[in-house]
């Protein structure tokens, strides 16, 4: 960010979600897993939405997944995103199951495809917040 003020909306971690955002700072994609029913959960909650358990553990995910769907935003709604258009907003389905909203980076909007394999990419937008983006998966799968 080279000292420039970050003007886009930032997440405000809560007591419940803080381990997730500490994870992105540490280059880890952390999910919750219910100790009672075993389901993996995203976004972070205080309660398992499957069985009401309060015993949720944090586990480290592979950070790999696929583009479930994507769009190219050509007109930003929040003015601070205007300098980025066109950019890719996507839903990624993690190999562990949960889906999340993110940006696809490291590839031009015209080269993004549904079902494309991707991996986590971390962006330290402020000293306190690291956003979770995704980029094309590098490795033998791409050959």
């Amino acid at each position: 960010m080279a000292g420039e003020e970050y003007r886009k909306p930032l997440p405000q971690p809560s007591e419940t979600s803080r381990p997730f955002w500490q994870g992105t700072q540490a280059r880890e994609l952390r999910l919750q897993q219910c100790r009672d029913c075993g389901k993996r959960i995203f976004y972070p909650r205080a309660i398992c939405p499957f069985c009401l358990s309060e015993h949720l553990d944090w586990v480290v995910a592979t950070g790999k997944g696929k583009v479930y769907s994507y769009t190219v935003v050509r007109r930003a709604m929040h003015p601070a995103f205007q300098e980025d258009v066109p950019y890719v907003l996507a839903i990624v389905e993690l190999d562990e199951g949960p889906r999340l909203t993110t940006n696809i980076v490291g590839v031009g909007p015209e080269d993004v495809r549904v079902d494309m394999p991707v991996q986590a990419a971390y962006d330290d937008v402020t000293p306190d917040i690291t956003l979770l983006n995704f980029e094309p998966l590098l490795g033998p799968e791409m050959n």
Binding site: F50, L52, T71, D84
Partner: protein, 388 residues
């Protein structure tokens, strides 16, 4: 019918009050008491199918039932925000009973919660922004409001079923033809072709400008009366023949399946209650914030097979003089979307057509209408069958 013994309260959850939130959020508090009440009643989230909320005073946000339902894993078939101040809790009791008596749900969770203190409560400017999951996990990535959500739905639908932009554009063009027969439509007298839609700028791929609803000013109201009063009505009564409601998520990333909407649950139930099927319908009057919304609605309501919406809209004439009259007022895409009155326009147009006063766009012998209301990113759906 009265509500005497129509329902009973079987569980409660409550927190000991504190002077200030101590780091708790409103959503967190509502989730906590919801959990306690469900456990007290011996219920799991999947057992709860009604969700009523007395909205928090210092955190006014839209669509509280979807926000809390998503968080808890509750998919309500009856959602309500009961906003009558201190009477809200008592008001929720009888509303829940009424919904249960009418067969719309079996177990309704009624929730209140507030994360406040004296300073916050009496100082409007100190009211903090709501700490909701979408602010934390979607907004930082730059969504274009719900536009980008529907774009994600359309893109996935194209991937799964081969739907094309030309097929989607046909919906917008046919509805504009309808608007050109409705002097009250925002885009009256401005016909467009499929190519005009495809040539309009891509705003949020794959959606073009003319596939996206335009916010505007307006309003709509209607009166619902008892059968006794209906018989005294100066106009032909339009009867509610069937209804159903279902909500599954707030954020699109949390939807069980983004190309199949809760309409797949609500429409069959509404048709079943009415004792009719999609092929009996004379008028389709369904929420159309985007072209893809209409396409998925037609599929999920059973007008065509799942995934077959693209060829279906290409093969059928959706205008008021066509074989499947759809959104004869122009739909919100061409009539305009004056806030929640946009959704109401599908009800008012169905009433006009069923009463035979739709003027030059009147559908001949219109006796049965399918109406659908859609909220969020195809998150919450209410389907109606209306008839003469």
């Amino acid at each position: 019918m009265t509500l005497k013994r129509a329902a009973a309260i079987t569980g409660i959850g409550e927190l000991k009050p504190t002077r200030n939130p101590d780091g708790k959020t409103t959503l967190g508090i509502m989730a906590e008491v919801s959990r306690l009440a469900m456990l007290d009643a011996g219920l799991e989230p999947k057992d709860v199918d009604g969700l009523l909320i007395g909205p928090p005073i210092v955190e006014m946000v839209p669509m509280w039932p979807s926000v809390l339902g998503e968080y808890l894993g509750v998919h309500p078939r009856y959602s309500n925000v009961v906003d009558i101040g201190g009477a809200s809790a008592a008001g929720m009791v009888w509303r829940a009973a009424a919904a249960i008596a009418a067969g719309h749900c079996r177990a309704a969770l009624c929730v209140t919660g507030e994360a406040s203190d004296v300073e916050t409560f009496y100082s409007p400017r100190a009211r903090r922004r709501s700490q909701l999951p979408y602010r934390e996990f979607e907004v930082p990535y730059g969504p274009m409001g719900v536009n980008s959500g529907y774009a994600l739905i359309a893109q996935r639908h194209m991937f799964e079923y081969g739907t094309t932009s030309r097929q989607l554009a046909k919906i917008a063009a046919d509805q504009r033809t309808n608007a050109c027969a409705n002097p009250d439509a925002l885009f009256f007298d401005q016909p467009i072709t499929i190519d005009d839609v495809l040539d309009s700028p891509l705003v949020v791929d794959p959606l073009h400008l003319l596939e996206i609803v335009m916010p505007c000013t307006g309003g709509a109201a209607f009166v619902v009366v008892s059968p006794e009063a209906a018989r005294q009505s100066p106009r032909p009564p339009v009867w509610l023949l069937g209804a159903a409601e279902y909500a599954t998520h707030m954020m699109l990333s949390q939807a069980p399946d983004i190309t199949t909407s809760p309409i797949a649950v609500t429409a069959p139930k509404a048709f079943q209650t009415a004792g009719v099927s999609p092929e009996d319908v004379d008028l389709v009057s369904v929420y159309d914030c985007y072209t893809i919304t209409v396409l998925i609605t037609l599929e999920d309501a059973g007008f065509c097979p799942k995934g077959g919406g693209g060829p279906f809209v290409a093969e059928h004439d959706l205008t008021y003089r066509g074989d499947l009259p759809l959104n004869t007022h122009g739909g919100q895409l061409s009539f305009g979307q004056p806030g929640l009155a946009g959704g109401a326009s599908h009800v008012t147009e169905a009433v006009r057509q069923l009463q035979g006063r739709a003027g030059s766009r009147q559908v001949p012998n219109c006796e049965l209408a399918f109406v659908n209301g859609n909220g969020g990113v195809m998150s919450e759906q209410a389907s109606l069958v209306l008839g003469r």
